[in-house]
């Protein structure tokens, strides 16, 4: 049994991520955001479910498709929006951009421009916990694409031999950029690889936020009992191409339609309405609140100063 408040919070988070990405794509089309922007559209339930199951002092490691992770972990929309617009008030003072947002305050070790690059870093956060004798856990988000990088195999093994409190969250969106997983792996159910390393693993519907939350809760318990690491394969699908400028024409229409109809936001809304007395009007209030917060974040970002070139040049002199 879940409280209405809890289900509302899940829905608020998942909707906020959806809205952040949707609004940012508009800003991108207007030329206000440049560079690479990898939307998390269609995968929102994974970040939301995982981060909701974590404790305040736990860590996450994010990916290039990382806005959802940051928001779900409690990141501030204003600082995120300012960063993707490259402003001084952003998380990284405009020096990182969409692919490099990190937030030490929420234990977000950061997004990563290198596919798979964050996996060993997450293992290291787990190793640090182990050396200190702490009780925290680390959730490492990565993708089916990253699972074919050598560091995945190495890192799974390291975490296993050192019994680290690490949850490998494999967001299987079934595409490595444009390459379908069926062609990149003989066994597309990637969690099966974990067995070979002696790591407990499961596969869940990554579009169902409660399924993700419950599986992560179990994983946190397993890690805290000293029985980590754990791997969770969350099956999902992107709602579009690899980044904003990729139309994703290689994605089969029927499959895309199926996943769009099996939408994480809709599923979360159904959970909220069927498991509590929340009605359409209450939902609208949650959405209005999230929309308002995002409008304020965008205004804040737009009105924020560009980083000073002079002070940048002064800083780099010391290198």
């Amino acid at each position: 049994m879940y409280s209405r408040e809890f289900l509302e919070q899940l829905y608020r988070t998942i909707y906020t991520i959806r809205n952040f990405e949707t609004q940012c794509i508009k800003l991108y089309r207007q030329g206000l955001i440049i560079g690479y922007f990898h939307p998390y559209l269609g995968e929102e339930a994974i970040a939301t479910g995982v981060c909701t199951a974590l404790r305040k002092d736990d860590y996450i490691v994010s990916t290039h498709r990382g806005h959802g992770h940051c928001i779900a972990r409690g990141g501030q929309l204003k600082k995120m929006a300012a960063e993707v617009l490259g402003r001084e008030t952003g998380y990284c003072r405009g020096r990182g951009g969409s692919m490099h947002i990190a937030d030490p305050e929420t234990g977000n070790i950061g997004a990563n421009g290198v596919v798979g690059g964050g996996i060993p870093i997450g293992v290291g956060a787990g190793l640090g916990i182990s050396v200190r004798g702490g009780n925290q856990v680390v959730a490492i988000f990565f993708s089916d694409g990253a699972s074919n990088n050598g560091v995945f195999a190495e890192s799974l093994n390291l975490a296993a031999i050192w019994d680290l409190p690490v949850i490998f969250v494999l967001e299987n969106n079934q595409y490595a950029v444009s390459s379908p997983i069926e062609e990149m792996s003989r066994i597309p159910d990637l969690h099966k690889r974990a067995e070979g390393y002696g790591v407990e693993a499961s596969m869940i519907d990554g579009n169902d936020v409660l399924a993700v939350f419950e599986e992560t809760q179990k994983a946190v318990r397993t890690c805290c009992d000293g029985k980590g690491p754990v791997l969770i394969e969350a099956k999902t699908y992107r709602h579009g191409g690899h980044h904003v400028n990729d139309p994703g024409l290689y994605m089969p229409k029927d499959k895309l339609e199926y996943y769009k109809s099996h939408d994480p936001v809709t599923i979360a809304r159904e959970h909220l309405m069927s498991r509590s007395d929340c009605n359409e009007q209450d939902i609208a209030e949650i959405e209005n609140g999230a929309n308002q917060a995002m409008s304020e974040a965008v205004e804040f970002a737009k009105n924020s100063p560009q980083p000073s070139v002079d002070s940048f040049l002064e800083e780099v002199k010391q290198n």
Partner: protein, 336 residues
């Protein structure tokens, strides 16, 4: 260890590898967030015995033997550093750091910058390089230029036991990633190291020999060779000043420039291949900032642009030897 009871102030002599071991031990005692990670560093004590006995003293949580998964255990060092630890990661040969380039270049070096200064990576990567042991092309390289090139890294290359200890202690305490490259021929070399604690600031070079006629800049394994060359040159009446920058990043530019302003001649010696090396960069700095003081073109004595050969004669011919340095100095000093 035997003590020299005859001389009251005789300084203790220990080996380079023992000095490194002392530095690690002292830093681990001082700060419990310091831990060691690498292949064969625990029970085996490291290939060059740098980490010997540390497993017994600090236990397997702080002296961690890793499988041959260089990219991932280095990345684990990066992640531990970001989250409050001070790992010292060992990669057996600098040649094998090719396997960890992403974690060093894209992750460790950039994290502080990319996070707008809010994140730090206080990690030391210890490794060793250089030729002279017949270890051939994949175990003998001098690859410091790779790391010299990347903003966000510090780069340390000690040439004596004293420097090795003081610099490693500072590297461990530094809040940024430090690439610490030892030289395989130096591990068994003895040198004076005081019993009392000391550190050496990163970015401070050292005058290994004073002289008025020519400045020689050399680091790591080339320092002892350049020193021998300087002694031999003294017999010909040329007094060379030998400067060991000790850390290439940050580089003690002022110490080099000051010496060049005095001697008006500069020879730079590097074991690494000539092309794209640190020596060329130091030369460019000196010609830009002390051009008017130079009496002759800057000479660079460097490794040949070749993989290191196995055969001992070919190996010797690939990297600077004492006579090469003597010749280059004479060329600079006698230049018309």
């Amino acid at each position: 260890m035997s003590t020299d009871t005859g001389t009251e102030c005789a300084e203790r002599q220990i080996m380079y590898r023992e000095a490194l071991n002392e530095a690690l031990r002292e830093e681990m005692l001082r700060d419990e967030t310091v831990f060691l990670l690498g292949g064969g560093i625990g029970k085996r004590g490291g290939s060059y015995k740098v980490t010997v006995d540390l497993l017994d003293e600090f236990g397997p949580k702080r002296v961690i033997d890793a499988p041959i998964s260089e990219a991932s255990f280095t990345g684990a060092g990066v992640g531990a550093a970001i989250t409050g630890m001070r790992p010292v990661v060992e990669i057996l040969f600098v040649d094998f750091t090719s396997l960890i380039i992403d974690q060093i270049v894209n992750q460790a070096a950039k994290y502080r910058f990319m996070s707008g200064g809010r994140g730090r990576v206080p990690m030391v990567l210890r490794t060793q390089g250089g030729s002279g042991n017949g270890l051939a092309a994949q175990h003998s390289q001098s690859l410091e230029a790779w790391y010299y090139h990347v903003p966000g890294l510090k780069l340390v290359m000690p040439s004596t036991p004293y420097d090795a200890k003081g610099l490693l202690k500072s590297a461990v305490r530094d809040d940024d990633p430090v690439i610490f490259i030892e030289h395989k021929l130096l591990y068994m070399e003895n040198g004076p190291v005081p019993e009392a604690e000391y550190t050496i600031e990163l970015g401070r070079g050292d005058i290994k020999r004073s002289g008025r006629d020519v400045t020689i800049v050399a680091w790591s394994g080339m320092v002892s060779r350049a020193l021998a060359a300087a002694e031999s040159l003294a017999c010909d009446g040329i007094q060379a000043e030998l400067i060991d920058p000790r850390t290439l990043v940050p580089l003690d530019k002022e110490l080099i420039l000051e010496s060049v302003r005095k001697t008006e001649h500069l020879v730079i010696v590097q074991e690494s291949v000539r092309r794209g090396g640190v020596a060329s960069d130091i030369a460019s700095v000196v010609q830009a900032e002390a051009f008017d003081y130079l009496d002759a073109p800057i000479e660079i004595v460097a490794g040949r642009n070749t993989p290191i050969p196995f055969n001992v004669n070919l190996e010797r011919a690939s990297v600077p030897q004492e006579p090469d340095i003597v010749e280059a100095v004479k060329k600079a000093v006698y230049a018309k």
